[in-house]
């Protein structure tokens, strides 16, 4: 059972306090978007073996959403950070690079 650090309230809590919310950094496509873009936004989520960026909610806690950078294979948590951002903080990207050289995830690497 995972441990996650909620970046919003600082709690280091066990997984039962949290709820996973799928892939992070989704870019919304609304009316006027192409079928391909919309299809990609709605259906094509990645599920990589290794480095992954996810959204979590501290549901039994402060109630806030946040992002987590995680390894889906070893369950290592590289870091958690605010959901109010369009890309992972450099500091977390650097940490992943140190541990998983050559990683990439969507447009990030």
């Amino acid at each position: 059972m995972l441990i996650l650090d909620c970046p919003c309230c600082g709690v280091r809590g066990e997984e039962t306090e949290f709820h996973s919310g799928g892939e992070a950094h989704l870019k919304r496509f609304g009316p006027g978007s192409s079928d391909d873009d919309f299809h990609g936004y709605l259906f094509e989520k990645v599920n990589p073996k290794g480095v992954h960026f996810e959204r979590w909610r501290h549901v039994n806690g402060c109630g806030k959403w946040f992002h987590a950078a995680r390894c889906t294979m070893t369950l290592e948590v590289f870091g958690t950070y605010s959901a109010q951002t369009l890309e992972p903080p450099q500091e977390i990207k650097d940490k992943i690079t140190a541990k998983r050289p050559g990683w990439s995830w969507r447009e990030f690497s």
Binding site: C8, C9, G10, V11, G13, E14, T16, E17, V59, N60, G61, C62, G63, K64
Partner: protein, 192 residues
């Protein structure tokens, strides 16, 4: 037939190695806004006499308490019949600001578990995935967490007592959880 307000369990109690009581009605206000702003600080001060609490803490005094709920939310606690006045104070102080202040007094149930410090800590440690050890959880801290299968918030007004706030609809479930957690013979002997 009285039409007075009645709390969820009307003050039910049970005694085990610690005492559990539903503490009746309390005035509670959810206040959302920019917690760093001078106006919110002023509103909280005027409403409760307290400063805006730091991350995951609660400030308490004679005229009220205020707890940190999330980066943009506080729980303001006053007497049940003071809520309307307190709300009015907050609303007038914050007039023109972007904020939300709403009465949630009736949406909640509050419990008090008291006895030895070790006993109350153990009772809570049976239900919440929180380190209840002395030094890790202390008076002044405020923790929102999971209690068995429901969300709850807990804090210690003093070293011998824990307060619990949960939703009103699950008050009976919460009471029963606590009843079992303090049952005689269930002392763990860890914090004593």
């Amino acid at each position: 037939m009285s039409n007075a307000a009645v709390s969820a369990l009307n003050g039910a109690t049970v005694q085990g190695f610690a005492r559990v009581e539903e503490t009746g009605l309390h005035g509670m206000i959810t206040l959302r806004g920019d917690l760093a702003s001078a106006k919110v600080k002023k509103a909280v001060k005027e409403a409760t006499g307290q400063d805006v609490p730091a991350l995951r803490t609660i400030n308490t005094g004679d005229s009220g308490a205020v707890a940190w709920m999330s980066p943009d939310e506080l729980l303001v606690m006053v007497d049940y019949d003071q809520v309307d006045d307190t709300l009015a104070t907050i609303e007038s102080t914050l007039a023109g600001e972007h904020f939300l202040a709403v009465n949630v007094s009736d949406a909640r149930a509050m419990f008090r578990v008291s006895g030895s410090g070790a006993g109350v800590r153990e009772a809570l440690a049976k239900l919440c995935p929180v380190d209840m050890a002395p030094g890790e959880f202390e008076p002044g801290m405020f923790r929102r967490t999971r209690m068995a299968q429901i969300p709850a918030a807990i804090w210690m007004p003093d070293a011998e007592c824990v307060h619990i706030v949960c939703f009103r609809s699950v008050a009976e479930y919460t009471f029963n959880l606590l009843r079992d957690a303090v049952a005689e013979g269930g002392e763990v002997g860890l914090f004593s």
